[in-house]
């Protein structure tokens, strides 16, 4: 290993042992820079908006709403949206309802492995303010402390129509170039990481999961 591990642009990875640190990348992520020509960037945004691939990771009870979306009645594929089995292939992360601390760790891991451009839709009232689990010892109350959210859908649980409306709105936002959640995450990475490590007490993974 001849990587420079002391430069300013690296993460500490202090949750890993010395041996494990050699196995993981410790580079800091960098924000996305738009194309300098506006027409090209607009075209790229149009393309992004029309190929949203959802990560098939149901994190709570609201993700039951994703099943009717895929089948004939609501049929989400007519909007160019498909489910994908792995984070590497997907661009939309739908947080399906309540997020326990144990799941939050897996969500962070999956989100960081997703390749940009990537967007988060938070479904239901639990990620927004805790919902019915506001006093739970194990469920977070404000999801946007830990990861950037591009679109909230209220309801407990929201109907598939509400989710469809949110996806339509997300598309418009992407086309207008307003969805900069991934950039916010990278620019404020230290703040997000401090919040994440406050609740995830056994942090035994790299600081950024490339």
């Amino acid at each position: 290993m001849s990587k420079d591990r002391s430069s300013k642009n690296t993460m500490e990875n202090s949750g890993l042992s010395a041996d494990e640190q050699l196995l993981f990348c410790n580079a800091r992520p960098e924000p996305y820079k738009p194309y300098s020509i506006k027409a090209v960037e607009d075209f790229a945004n149009w393309a992004r908006a029309n190929s949203l691939w959802i990560l098939a990771f149901g994190t709570g009870c609201c993700s039951i709403e994703l099943r009717p979306l895929m089948t004939a009645r609501f049929d989400i594929s007519r909007f160019g949206i498909a489910g994908r089995p792995t984070p590497r292939q997907s661009s939309v992360f739908i947080i399906g309802g309540y997020v326990s601390v144990k799941t939050l760790k897996r969500i962070i891991r999956s989100y960081e492995q997703m390749q940009g451009p990537k967007f988060i839709i938070a479904l239901g009232s639990c990620p927004a303010n805790g919902g019915m689990y506001f006093d739970s010892y194990n469920t977070i109350n404000q999801f946007d402390l830990y990861l950037p959210v591009d679109m909230y859908v209220t309801g407990c649980m929201p109907r598939p129509e509400a989710l469809l409306a949110a996806i339509m709105e997300l598309k418009e936002d992407i086309k207008a170039g307003n969805c900069d959640g991934a950039n916010r995450y990278v620019e404020n990475l230290d703040w997000y990481k401090a919040n994440q490590k406050k609740v995830i007490k056994n942090w035994d993974m790299p600081d950024y999961n490339w």
């Binding site: 303010n129 006093d135 109350n141 404000q142 402390l145 007490k201």
Partner: protein, 179 residues
């Protein structure tokens, strides 16, 4: 059922037998006799299925009540064996030698209530909670609202309504919320 209970009552010092439902009977037994009684029920009396192990926290009396729910497929009866253990230094004999699945319950009880089962496999590992460093959350002295607000914060603007009063005001506004 009654003859069985009469015989067990003299052999194992069972007390406080009560019929909760037509097919569910519970009985209390001393901690030292519990494992022997459960073994007897499983091997001789046909209670071959362990439904679950759970715990009730009687904080006022300073005890945990462990409930071993056993099922008999022969006469389709269910028997709950209740054991009172001390709340401080809570410890109980492990029954993972009787049913292998018992150690999962015992792991959960250790994490949620802090009850120790010496010899039970993988007791020290995290089960549901990862990196938990407070008192076990299902103990009644644990204030879950305070913990949640301190750890996870509170979103400004969140309000709670009394459902009954709120719906009255919504449904009967002209009568001042009186139905």
């Amino acid at each position: 059922m009654n003859t069985l209970l009469d015989r067990l009552a003299t052999d194992f010092g069972i007390y406080d037998i009560s019929d909760r439902k037509p097919a569910i009977t519970t009985l209390k037994v001393e901690k030292q006799q519990a494992e022997r009684l459960i073994r007897e029920l499983r091997d001789r009396e046909g209670y071959t299925h362990l439904n679950f192990i759970t715990c009730i926290d009687y904080i006022e009396q300073g005890i945990f009540t462990l409930v071993y729910m056993l099922h008999n497929y022969g006469d389709k009866s269910t028997l709950g064996v209740e054991v009172d253990i001390d709340r401080e230094n809570a410890e109980m004999t492990s029954i993972h030698t009787l049913w292998a699945q018992a150690w999962t319950y015992q792991r959960e009880l250790r994490e949620m209530f802090g009850i120790n089962f010496p010899g039970s496999p993988r007791q020290e590992e995290d089960f549901c909670l990862e990196g938990w460093d407070d008192i076990p959350p299902m103990r009644r002295e644990f204030n879950t609202k305070t913990y949640s607000t301190e750890t996870f914060g509170h979103r400004e603007g969140r309000v709670s309504e009394d459902p009954r009063e709120h719906m009255k005001a919504q449904l009967y506004p002209t009568r001042g919320g009186d139905n």
